[in-house]
Symmetry: C2
Subunit: 699 residues, 2 copies
Amino acid sequence: MDFFFEPNGVAVVGATPERYTGGHYLLTNLTLGYKGPVYPVNPKYDQILGLKCYPSVSDINGPLDLALVFVPAHAVPQVLEDCVTRGVRGAILESSGFAEVGPEGKVLQDQCLAIVRKGGMRLWGPNCMGLIDFSKRYVFSFMIPEAWQGSINPGGISLIVQSGLLSAGFITTLMSNKTLGLAKVCSIGNKSDVEETELLEYLLKDQATKVVCLYLESFVNGRRFFELSSSSEKPIVVLKGGKSSLGAEASASHTASLAGNNDLIKGALRQAGIHQADDFFEMVDIARTLEKDFRLQQPPEGEAKIAIFSYSGAAGIVTTDHMVANGLTLARLSSKTRQRLEELSPAWMPIKNPVDYWPAMEKHGPALAYKHAIEVLHEAPEVDGIIVHLFAGFGLWFLDMKEIMSGIQKPRKPILFWLIGPEKGREVTRKALEEDGWPTFYEIHRTVRVMASLFEHLQQAGESQNIPSIEFQANVALKELASQPEEKRTRILDEYEAKKWLQSLRLKVVDEVIVNSYAATLRAANTLGFPVVLKGMAEGKIHKTEAGLVRLNICTPGELKRVYEEMRRNEVKPQSFLIQPMLKGDFELIVGITRDPQFGLAAMLGLGGVWTEVYRDVVFRLVPLTQKDVFEMVADLKGQALLKGFRGSKPVDMESLADWLIKLGWIALAYEKIQEIDVNPLLIIDGAPVAVDATIILR
Amino acid sequence: MDFFFEPNGVAVVGATPERYTGGHYLLTNLTLGYKGPVYPVNPKYDQILGLKCYPSVSDINGPLDLALVFVPAHAVPQVLEDCVTRGVRGAILESSGFAEVGPEGKVLQDQCLAIVRKGGMRLWGPNCMGLIDFSKRYVFSFMIPEAWQGSINPGGISLIVQSGLLSAGFITTLMSNKTLGLAKVCSIGNKSDVEETELLEYLLKDQATKVVCLYLESFVNGRRFFELSSSSEKPIVVLKGGKSSLGAEASASHTASLAGNNDLIKGALRQAGIHQADDFFEMVDIARTLEKDFRLQQPPEGEAKIAIFSYSGAAGIVTTDHMVANGLTLARLSSKTRQRLEELSPAWMPIKNPVDYWPAMEKHGPALAYKHAIEVLHEAPEVDGIIVHLFAGFGLWFLDMKEIMSGIQKPRKPILFWLIGPEKGREVTRKALEEDGWPTFYEIHRTVRVMASLFEHLQQAGESQNIPSIEFQANVALKELASQPEEKRTRILDEYEAKKWLQSLRLKVVDEVIVNSYAATLRAANTLGFPVVLKGMAEGKIHKTEAGLVRLNICTPGELKRVYEEMRRNEVKPQSFLIQPMLKGDFELIVGITRDPQFGLAAMLGLGGVWTEVYRDVVFRLVPLTQKDVFEMVADLKGQALLKGFRGSKPVDMESLADWLIKLGWIALAYEKIQEIDVNPLLIIDGAPVAVDATIILR
């Protein structure tokens, strides 16, 4: 990818002397930063901005790695042919009018792709804003020169944005704050060839990049993205567009991309330790805080313990509300910490967390009060992070924050500021704090959300200690089972067959007998014990309940006879019958495996029954799984309390549950013909999971 | 309350010539705006700021309605005594050190309250920042004079803030934006006497006030607050602090207030048509948009239909995601609207919503494109509101928004701007738009949240058409039942008795027989039909399942015998037995009535079983209820899909469900001795609710 980021020679195809046009901006930007040879290309002109202009790329002499292309869509294929002929290594195609506008545009885009593939060239875009390198001042983009000149501030945050125009407007806005440092911005548009995974790999190795932010509407190679992220030491923040089905519809029209299963993507990103954002500035707020390299203490029981330091009780309360909603908790201050804080606070004001230090500020002045309290809280071992409320205003309330924070020793715990005040005072204070590495925020909810984001993957890491990985060896029974369906050409295994696969891995399933006559049915029922369940088996029918093929809680032989006869006359005729005892569990789970086109095999865990769909309480992780993954899946369920022993019932045996999900993953990994496994319900009886129904779908 | 808002004569107790002190600021602020007589009070001085200073309030001659008190807490009782003696009508006590610091402070506060109550004086505070009237320039507060001088901008938003310091810092921040217009700000602190309800009543009648915002940690008189809000034409926005139990703990220490049942408060505020916010600036963002008096179209199917107008596909997608999360939907543009938009857009770019108008902006310039498209969308009958994405930057991208918006005819639909860009361009554009009544926001999530807030109560109003109100007349059976418990002195009615109350109102309960011998039990079981349920009745035992007194799904006489004998030997001995058929429902609800100390009688509806507690899916409304209230309760349930006919089951009969909740409300209204009614489970069988268990608790 170096010929994109550090090209020797750049052509600007579509360069023009006409002002206020993209072609003019592209060329101007190059002349303002890039030091190598620049070649305007436009048959209408001999010279632009004092540079010799060429009628076509083929006419250029001299070193030439990269072409920036900004001509109408229909003219692009010829330009790319010329580039291939000339031996150009890469083209950044910034024009629009391709896949994002519909099927005709898609044909044109595919035509372009075929040209570069054949010619061994790489294509970036189309429908994008190109590339900016802030430390080198390379702007390979048609963004307006005024937008970056004078406000370019090199730093550690790199962005990959699946969008064109937003990236320009957004980056321009970010640059105007003077404190955010950017490394590289890659606007990848329709990503016909160069896509996020390749660029992520490049940026993870890039010296200048400390944190990578991505706005994506789809993942071209989800599994590779996952693997890169999982093994990355650099923090990654993702804003996924098209989370809702309506958003996904808009997305499809935008960059012609597949939105994918959002629950699955969310789970995979979480598993990879990626920070997830919901809005553009939130993404950057998380990234700029991660860049600060705070020392994060391992919160012993999962929830990070935060101290709130405030001049206002009300702000302390609202901050606490947001903390609870974000999985943070209030640090319980030790008596030593309280004593030290009481040194400046009048005796009538009790010290607790949130620390309402107004009386101390009034008595000793805010400068001394802030300095003392922040130092004390930073030194307190019981505090994982601090949220400081600061009003930057007039007179006494215009504080020298550089001086106040100068006593904080490294390594630093996260200290985030909720900073309000009139624009004038606030802006100076903001810059002073940000320059020294202290992040500030204008809203409480954001301050808290970012603090929570710092700790979220640390908690996960904490739980991963000493959990052995398990190796899979297909046993004889499974091998035998696996060889059967192919012969029979079955696409959907019925529950009786599916459960045999599960049993072969020693996963517990309900007792059951397959029968073909009433006499055999009655014998089986007497053996299993009433009440029983009768199921009619009809090939290809997964939804047996809806087809009238399931009768629960049959109490007596008389009832069994009646039900049996009824089911024989059912609209969908059963070929055979399955009889099972009527199990009573504490509640139902659903577990399964699915094969995603972008991310590959993924496991699902959810609260079962109608509730799965009503509350959509399901969690995904990519296969293969570890016990840690399964424990995290449980922790991500909204209804997780149910699994921890609710109303006196036994807690779910977590190792057994992990066993279930890990082993289902094994089967699907071992047998590529498996498209989907569905165990529903997985009944919890005295804490132990038992499969009552299951389906395996082959592809 | 007029003597607080328009006093004739104000004393400043604790005035001082020492700069940078609250006592100095208080007096300075008065001299800068208030035109009536001002009396500094401090025995140490003869004169302050050129005004004659009095040793005590009693020494003041001349008209004197109001005292602003800012002396140490221990000195306050004497000051209040002096005020009473002098005939002062009200005091604003801005000192802290009272109930907010603990029991000792509470004693002092109660002492102050006793003095004013006895003397017929009103007390505002303590622990507050007082009162500001922006149009009169009355600042009865110790806030720093620089904070408001030169930036006071009178307008229609009034605030009531249960907090001291935050209000000052927050208001100062708001004022510095130059476009937000404020009417009155009331910081009420510990609200020992004057509280939010009285002030709300005053502000709802206040000419200057168009919208009221409240930050509250508790409601002193919730029922009255509810009634005032319900009948108010002026919009009200509430930020409730202490939503979480941790937040409530912080709250208790702050202004010594009771946080109450937050689910109940949330339901009551919603029922009253109050807009609810989660953060301080969000509260004001909602209020300043409500102030604009947009014409809101009635969305026919509940969800408001919004058009998104953008220069960026990505921003359109993220906006759509937030819209879906906030209950808004994308307007489906008519062919006429699309045709008109296509006038400027090149043929290759398909027009749909979100409208990605970049190609049109490029072709015709952004000024023309914005003007044309916003007018077209505003005129489209299928559009209820518009979210416009705007980048305010340089050159072509610095637009004259006043001119662009000048063609929008009144009445105006809501047009909200997501405005980004470098500070310089953005700030000028923001002011231009805000001055003409067009709200702007810096983040997508907030833009969408505010748009949703505009429509939320309109949707509710829409459903309220043609629903008759029902009158309650206690029948003979109920009167007879109601007279019994008092004689027996029962505090908790067992399920058999409780269900008789329900039956007397023709609410359907499970068939059941009370029995005392096995023979009678078996007879009853045979009559009701197996399988049956056996329950042991022991006085005062509400949680029968946990006590081993409930056995479900008894299939045969043999099993019944065994279970009966076992239960007779149970640790908690049953006095009698209840036998019921084992009902099979589609799912369980829970309904009930509770009596809240602040809000009075409230009804609850929730998804039943363990799920109530696991997902906490419960909704409250205050009694008396209308059908509309119950329909809204259902719509507020997270699991509402379940009630609408899930997986082929019959939808819940909404009129029957409404009947249940309305009638439970009647009983509790009619009989004040009822503390609580709990019907759990209310089983749904073929769409009809049937009570299986119930409890009534008397007080």
